[in-house]
Symmetry: C3
């Protein structure tokens, strides 16, 4: 399937897909606003986004139930394994969700995804950094092992279905200074997947490229992480389907 | 009682009423900031705001207890039945609160309020839209059936005590692109009710009109939902009691 | 030990300490963003920040466990007794944490700290105000009684180790119109303590002075509490170690 973030964004704005999100306390306001700004609605259920940023047994059960229900009804699922590798409980929970729920797209940083494929990685806070080619390899390995599309985000994002690897070079370093931008990218992956459910690889790459373009726009004129954060919602809402494809850097 | 949002706002800023809010994870920061920006303080207890945006059995018990205590002490209660109609648990919980707590003002969107009076309505995410006259009828029906003041918000808000219906034409479409603005309007209803407790119909309409005027101010110069969201707090804090009544459109 | 907020800020940015934060639902996004903006990372564990803004038995247990583990490993602990004095449960919980965990810095407003040393104080919402000399006395009394460093924040902050009292005159009145700024100051105290763990009195004062300078910068050009809130993160990120000491007003 061809890649056109602009076409998918148009579809998404026309259909206003409902994206069910079970996310974490810290960033739920951010993910809901990013979803609204982009043009989708943050509830049930053209896609399901699971995020384990804040974990408790009840929430895990709720995520498993929602995931299984989504599988039953053919609703695509995005999974964000926040903090996998940082604690045993997080790693185990992420594995449990991946075992019991058929996930379409796994979206994490290098440390989180590496942990899930059994590769050791330095996990430093909720951020982790590594070389570009390493991220590509981890994305491909996770996609193969777990039989899904994997997005490993970082300075250049790497998206793989186990065969192909797409590199997404959009984005801005200020994203690392705002809490919840990783979670937002998962939410936006859910939005794009809802609009293009038969092509999760392309949808995942388009989502990250679009989010990256918005970040580039937001960084213009931002005086720091606070004004960048605000401008990010403006930029998501202002993304123009007609010019978007000329700005995405997917290779 | 006469309507003057400016006079009530002056009173509110002078008295700095404490507004107890049991609200939801997603928007609690927004409702607290909106309350602070307006000039009241977001805790105990010149008014009580109950919001079921994020539900769990413990929270429901806490809301029932707080509601009953408020009733006992003559503290006016605002209830925001977030998502009533979207799931059975939400609808049942909203009904349970309305049965066990004497609510002064019910503030919801058309779908939520329609559900509570037994009218079917399309509930799409947490937003729902319908015709203006329909909202007025639903507000009146809910006010009669539940014996309270009902605010049904939308492009034009409709506030009724079962007899009279006040239409509030202030506001801006960008409100729909920011999470928590409905909840903020409930919080602000609590602030106004604290300052004008003997006239809940007027207080509710003044609250929505004031919030709408602030939204109009915030929209000037906003580049999208992010900067609009920020400017909304500035505008709430900047509301001028002396000129406010000339700008409210209550009929 | 000498006081130099600039030197400590340089150290902090160089080392990017991990600051474990168990904080409350309402402000967790704010405290995480303030920590990121300043240049530290908001997770485990060069310092631990405990905040009882939103309480439940499980969270209290988690805080006690984290506090004891931090003590065992020599990780300095900051405690923010949000709402102590407002309810019996909050006061008791704050006392329980102070009994079971060796806290390095207690950071609260006058009413909260006064409650913990057995002095009655008017607690109005989560804000409380009093005279400057009174705050200094309460800070000193708490520091002696509880054998730790106490920061009592207000128009002029007072920081004491039981012997000396440092007054910090930086800050801006708009801080009182944004939810979570007290909690942010606790988070930032954790960041500075991580960079200067052997001098908690100085670290606490430097943290409040730096936060105050950022607030002064943020207030320039802010149109109200919304834009001030945003500019606060920009200003924290923009703090310049080279000029910071010429702007702090610690005496």
């Amino acid at each position: 399937m061809s890649i056109s973030a602009g076409t998918t964004l148009s579809l998404l704005r026309e259909r206003k897909p409902l994206v069910h999100q079970i996310t974490n306390y810290v960033v739920m306001n951010e993910t809901a606003n990013a979803t609204l700004a982009l043009g989708a609605l943050p509830v049930m259920a053209h896609a399901l986004v699971l995020n384990i940023g804040t974990l408790s047994p009840h929430w895990v059960e709720a995520m498993l139930m929602a995931g299984k229900a989504a599988n039953l009804h053919g609703v695509p699922v995005v999974f964000d394994p926040v903090g996998a590798g940082a604690t045993r409980y997080r790693t185990d929970t992420a594995r449990r969700i991946l075992e019991q729920v058929k996930v379409s797209v796994l979206r994490g940083n290098q440390g989180e995804v590496a942990t899930l494929v059994g590769v050791d990685a330095e996990v430093r806070g909720v951020e982790s950094i590594g070389a570009c080619s390493e991220r590509a390899e981890i994305a491909r390995a996770a996609a193969r092992k777990l039989d899904l599309v994997t997005s490993v985000t970082g300075p250049v994002d790497q998206v793989s279905d186990g065969e192909r690897v797409l590199a997404v070079a959009n984005g801005h370093e200020l994203l690392a200074f705002v809490t919840g931008t990783g979670c937002m990218s998962s939410a936006i992956t859910g939005c794009f997947l809802a609009a293009k459910r038969d092509a999760p690889l392309e949808a995942a790459a388009e989502a990250l490229a679009s989010f990256g373009v918005a970040a580039e726009d937001a960084a213009c004129g931002a005086a720091g992480p606070g004004s960048f954060h605000v401008a990010l919602y403006d930029a998501l809402a202002g993304l123009d389907p007609d010019t978007l494809d000329s700005r995405t850097r997917i290779s």
